[in-house]
């Protein structure tokens, strides 16, 4: 029963969500506390700021280098230029077309690099990814929502853009069929208007869920080691089997290394998907299919 009193509730999200501290090596008391103002944690605010500063510095540095018109030299210059060209060739041009790509390239590049930097913050030891917060991804989706519909309105005017959500349904027949066509049109228009909001919501939820789930899984796999070795946690299958610490540790560490590589890929992939879908939605808003 002593174990029962000491048993603690495990919160698998505690290391992933925003907090007022950074745990480096908590077993030896190496932690950074006090990352809060008025009781509200600011860890993610710091990471968001760092991400923005890194992206800002990198792009300004790239601008100064590229201004010379010389071919890229060095790893950093090549890498940053490659990222800009990647966004241009794989996101902007396929999404909004050759004509509009240069106009939207700054927005897409900034969005992609900002999300990518925030995602990568979670891959640095002891830190966390601000994109594991729905409010952060929601804010970015809100910006995309505004840009998407502002693009549509600027392309064809407000009234025409709103009308573009209404499908043209033509059904031959009597008065009943015509009423049915009207009802169908109104219903589908409603769905289309709803889709405009759903698209933005999905952008936010997809990025948030992927980052939250990925980092939570990594934490839980490592947490298996504590489950079989830390006396505070009681796991019936591991009781009296101290030797389990070694195989579980090896298994957990190896699996976490492999999944971390996958997470690294997902950090880039999710940034790409968010930006690419924004580009596609802008393209659809400017040139609706019906």
């Amino acid at each position: 029963m002593a174990h029962e009193t000491e048993k603690q509730k495990i919160n698998p999200f505690s290391h992933v969500v925003d907090s007022d501290h950074i745990e480096i090596l908590p077993t030896i008391g190496l932690e950074i506390h006090g990352l809060a103002i008025g009781g509200v944690p600011i860890k993610f605010i710091i990471f968001i700021t760092i991400s923005a500063l890194v992206v800002g510095w990198a792009m300004i540095w790239l601008g100064r280098k590229m201004q010379t018109g010389e071919p890229p030299q060095g790893k950093l210059w090549n890498l940053l230029e490659y990222l800009v060209f990647f966004v241009r060739d794989w996101i902007a041009r396929p999404g909004v077309g050759e004509r509009d790509a240069p106009k939207y390239l700054p927005y897409f590049t900034t969005l992609f690099l900002f999300i990518f930097a925030m995602n990568l913050m979670g891959m640095l030891p002891f830190l966390g990814s601000p994109t594991a917060s729905i409010m952060v991804t929601g804010a970015l989706a809100l910006v995309s929502f505004v840009v998407i519909h502002a693009s549509g309105v600027s392309e064809m005017g407000g009234a025409k853009y709103l009308k573009s959500f209404t499908p043209h349904i033509h059904i031959e027949g009597g008065a009943g069929m015509q009423i049915f066509a009207k009802v169908l049109t109104i219903g589908m228009a409603g769905l289309e208007y709803l889709t405009a909001f759903i698209r933005a919501s999905v952008l936010a939820i997809r990025l948030f869920a992927n980052m939250l789930a990925g980092h939570t899984v990594l934490f839980m796999i490592l947490f298996f080691i504590a489950l079989v070795s830390d006396p505070r946690y009681v796991v019936p299958i591991a009781e009296g089997k101290d030797w389990l610490f070694y195989p579980v540790s090896i298994f957990s560490v190896c699996l976490v290394v492999a999944l971390s590589l996958l997470e690294l890929f997902i950090a880039g992939l999710q940034a790409f998907i968010f930006t690419f879908l924004t580009a596609v939605f802008i393209g659809l808003a400017k040139h609706p299919p019906h």
Binding site: V55, G63, P71, T110
Partner: protein
Amino acid sequence: MRLIPLNALALLVVLAFASPVLAAEAGQEGGKLDFLGLQRYDLGIYTLIVFGLLIFVLNKYAWPKIKVGLERREASIKGALEEAKRERQEAKNVLEQARKQLNETALQVKAMLDEARRDADNLRTEQREIGVKEAQAERARAKREIETRMAGLSKDVYEQAVTLAALMAEKALRRQVSISDHQRLLDESLAELQSAANKA
């Protein structure tokens, strides 16, 4: 840091400190969905402002330069491409000219060979004619020489025959000769005639 306006940095700092206060005012609720952080709208506002500032700063300090760089790069690549095209055309022209010259040279060589062959044929014909003429002249000369020699020899034979006849007549006049003597005399005379011919 020179490129990032100080007021933008100041705004970031103010927001960093202000947003938690805003969130605190909104109140925090505990629950199973705490991990969603739905009450943390300060994070959303802060993200909006930071992202907006980032876009503003980059549009002012990075993208114009990147655009200029891209245009210069494009112009440079375009120039290099045009130069390459021009050089390729020049190389094509040179190749065409070289090919033309090669063809002309081949024609010239062929003409020279034909001429040489024609000259050789002419020379061969001339030489043959000369040879034939010389051979004919030589033959005529040899014939003439043979005839001269034959004439000389005939004269010698004639003289020898006369001498022999005189000799035989002289011997016949000195004694009575039998048939066998006659035969022997004739043989001796022929032998002498032969030796005289050999000596000649």
